[in-house]
């Protein structure tokens, strides 16, 4: 799909009907190249880590807040489109500080690995976690902490 700015957008990955969602900030280099969110190395790493806590990534709806690389021109449109996609979700793993500040008005450093409140997503349980872009660069503890909480909430939902 082509964005109004002319750039190619990445498509959402996984089970598009799932009410359990994973939202990251923006597609990474390989995702853009492949045209699919979470299809690059770090996306695959996230899927592996999700598997370790018993969550099949393919059973979740996995999307990015921005649908292509950063472009100020259409940021706001993307934020709104993604919010519409997220509405109705029962459980959301929200990855990265931009996502958290945009949708839950909180900082990653203070809230990572906890459940946060979002005034836009009142009916959803939102778990905060670190950016997918940090997977290969920073220690894995915070991501795993968030994933464990996400998995626990999913079990409760079931």
């Amino acid at each position: 799909m082509i964005c109004s700015c002319g750039k190619r957008q990445v498509s959402t990955w996984g089970d598009l009907s799932s009410l359990v969602m994973v939202v990251a900030e923006a597609p990474l280099f390989d995702d853009v190249k492949n045209g699919v969110a979470f299809s690059g190395n770090y996306g695959e790493a996230l899927k592996t880590e999700m598997g370790k806590v018993g969550i099949q990534a393919s059973g979740c709806r996995m999307l990015t807040m921005y649908k292509h690389v950063y472009d100020e021109e259409c940021l706001f449109d993307h934020e709104n489109t993604t919010l519409k996609e997220l509405m109705g979700a029962k459980l959301i793993l929200m990855l990265g500080s931009y996502c958290l500040s945009t949708y839950a008005d909180c900082t990653l450093s203070e809230y990572s690995g906890t459940i946060v409140r979002s005034k836009f997503l009142r009916k959803s349980i939102v778990v905060a976690g670190p950016s997918i872009a940090a997977i290969g660069k920073t220690p894995l503890g915070e991501l795993r902490l968030a994933l464990e909480l996400f998995a626990e909430q999913r079990r409760v939902l079931k």
Binding site: Y42, T114, I115, G136, K137, T138, P139, G141
Partner: protein, 566 residues
């Protein structure tokens, strides 16, 4: 939770008691130095719902007597103990430091270890620290400040209880109980280092003048990328940027050398200029750094405000001459000899490497001899440089590409050298494979003292880190244990504890002349005991130098004096 304004009583043996003190008027950069006005101490006791809070320093003596049997708990206890020792005598004892426990247990797994981080991770709660900033300007406590202070003590106790439950019996806990916790008291007793401010100031002025003189000769501003690129272009050197590593590739050209030299003097004058002195040298003429027991994920110590581990040692050794011994004292510097190869030999059990260490051989030469299959190779042989690069590089997972670049040789040749190295040092090769396998399977590697260092296997460097971490971590464990033993022996023998610097495998001390002999004996004894405990069977040794300053023999001016001293 109720706040009770009295000293807690009836503390049982081993009962956890958490302490947290607050001060008015403290500055963030100087938290490692006792300053500010006492605001309160909050105490939470295991099994009790209420929190105790005292506002008068006269109550402290009674408090510490009352808590005598308990297990003291705190978050970053170096801070609390240092501040409290200004008011009351506190004798060394085993303590449970929640920050240090997590740093020791989760090196490489988590990055941040503040109380708020631990509360979030252990309790799933968010700590809002806005009230904390009020202490800097306040002179009395509001109800919110009292509640905030009490909350810190309560959270710390809750975390300690969870840590005890979850980790105390875990194998990795020994890194805390045997190594890191034992560093708390020696750090608290560490001295500052005297600075020769006059000589420092003169040198900085000299650097400024020298930089200006060199720049005038060049005729352009060395810090302007555009000017540097254009001048180099005129000299026939076409570069894409002016970063040091790019320039270094052309260091054989006089103009490039002069640019690098000018920048070096300019950087020295700005980084270690008058501002450095004004900010860091205290009224007694000494600098007191903030030493962090586990400053890195491998367990290595670090230093800040100021960072004394960054004081140049090779490029500008003159700075070390400004860290001087006090009047009547001698500066002693101990350096572990070939520490990393020794640890590699211990870990890998490689026969050739171990044998070479036992024989006291020059290890770089040994490696070169093995690689080139030339047992008669002399130390002066140029091929020793290959041995040195490969020997040092092994513990960092040096690749053929890296070796080729460093040695400026074709890739195929570098591949052959590395292959030959592993053929000859097969124990090292097996150990490297084992470490990588362990890191991949378990998510962590361990040092000989049992410290776990977690790996991120999605990081492109993880295979190198898996080799380097047990060696660097082992070296860090060694330095800490050695330092602790020196401290213990000083106390036993009634000698002053004179260590004032720790830079990785190097210890610096400002020792009274009359005690040099005793101190040397004591340090040697402590060193041997540490080596036997951590790396049994490997004959480790330390090189020690004495002089007027930290530089000891590395700067000519000191040599004569040291010879006299010796």
């Amino acid at each position: 939770m109720k706040i009770i304004n009295e000293v807690p009583t009836d503390i049982k043996k081993g009962q956890m008691v958490s302490l947290d003190c607050e001060f008015y008027g403290q500055t963030l950069e100087k938290l490692h130095r006792p300053h500010g006005t006492f605001a309160c101490i909050s105490i939470a006791v295991e099994g009790r719902e209420d929190t105790y809070q005292l506002y008068d320093t006269h109550d402290l003596k009674k408090l510490f007597l009352s808590m005598g049997k308990g297990l003291w708990v705190g978050h970053n206890m170096l801070y609390d103990l240092r501040q409290l020792m200004k008011f009351v005598e506190i004798k060394p004892r085993y303590v449970h430091d929640t920050m240090l426990v997590d740093q020791s247990m989760f090196g490489g797994y988590y990055q941040k270890f503040s109380l708020a981080d631990l509360v979030r991770r252990y309790e799933g709660e968010i700590m809002h620290k806005e009230v904390r900033s009020e202490f800097s300007d306040a002179t009395e406590m509001t109800p919110e400040m009292k509640e905030y202070a009490a909350g810190d003590a309560t959270h710390t106790l809750n975390i300690a209880l969870k840590q005890r439950e979850q980790h105390q019996d875990a194998l990795g806990f020994s890194a805390y109980s045997d190594i890191d916790e034992k560093m708390i008291w020696p750090i608290l007793d560490m001295q500052g280092t005297l600075i020769d401010v006059g000589a420092w100031t003169k040198a900085v002025k000299g650097f400024e003048d020298k930089a200006q003189e060199l720049q005038d000769e060049l005729g352009f501003n060395v810090n302007s990328a555009a000017q540097v690129l254009s001048s180099l272009k005129k000299a026939g050197i076409h570069l894409i940027n002016t970063k040091a590593e790019t320039l270094l590739e052309y260091a054989d050209r006089p103009i490039v050398r002069q640019i690098l030299e000018t920048r070096m003097y300019r950087k020295a004058a700005s980084t270690y200029g008058m501002k450095w002195l004004e900010k860091n040298v205290e009224a007694d003429g000494k600098v007191y750094s903030s030493w962090h027991i586990t400053g890195a994920e491998t367990g290595r110590m670090s230093s800040s405000n100021p960072n004394l581990q960054n004081i140049p040692s090779r490029k500008m050794p003159i700075f070390r001459t400004f860290f001087v011994a006090s009047t009547g004292n001698i500066f002693i510097v101990d350096d572990v000899h070939q520490q990393e190869p020794c640890i590699l030999a211990y870990e890998s059990k490689d026969k050739i490497l171990t044998e070479a260490i036992f024989k006291g051989e020059d290890l770089h030469l040994t490696v070169a001899r093995e690689i080139f299959n030339d047992p008669a190779m002399k130390k002066e042989d140029d091929r020793r440089a290959v041995g040195k690069t490969i020997n040092l590089g092994t513990s960092y997972g040096l690749s053929a590409v890296g070796a080729a670049k460093r040695l400026n040789i074709p890739l195929e040749e570098a591949e052959r050298f590395i292959q030959q190295y592993f053929n000859r040092f097969s124990g090292v090769f097996s150990w490297i494979s084992q470490m990588r396998q362990q890191a991949y399977n378990n998510g962590y590697v361990k040092t000989s003292a049992g410290r776990r260092i977690y790996m991120n296997t999605y990081n492109t460097q993880w295979q190198n880190n898996a080799i380097n971490a047990p060696i660097q971590g082992g070296a860090a464990d060694f330095t800490k244990m050695w330092k602790r033993k020196i401290w213990e022996k000083c106390r036993e023998q009634g000698l002053p504890y004179t260590i004032c610097l720790i830079v990785h495998d190097e210890l610096g001390s400002d020792t009274p002349r009359a005690m040099v002999k005793d101190m040397n004996h004591l340090r040697k004894e402590a060193f041997d005991e540490t080596a036997t405990t951590l790396f049994k069977g490997i004959p480790m040794s330390s090189e020690f130098e004495m002089g007027k300053s930290w530089a000891c023999k590395s700067v000519k001016e000191d040599t004569e004096d040291e010879e006299e001293t010796a």
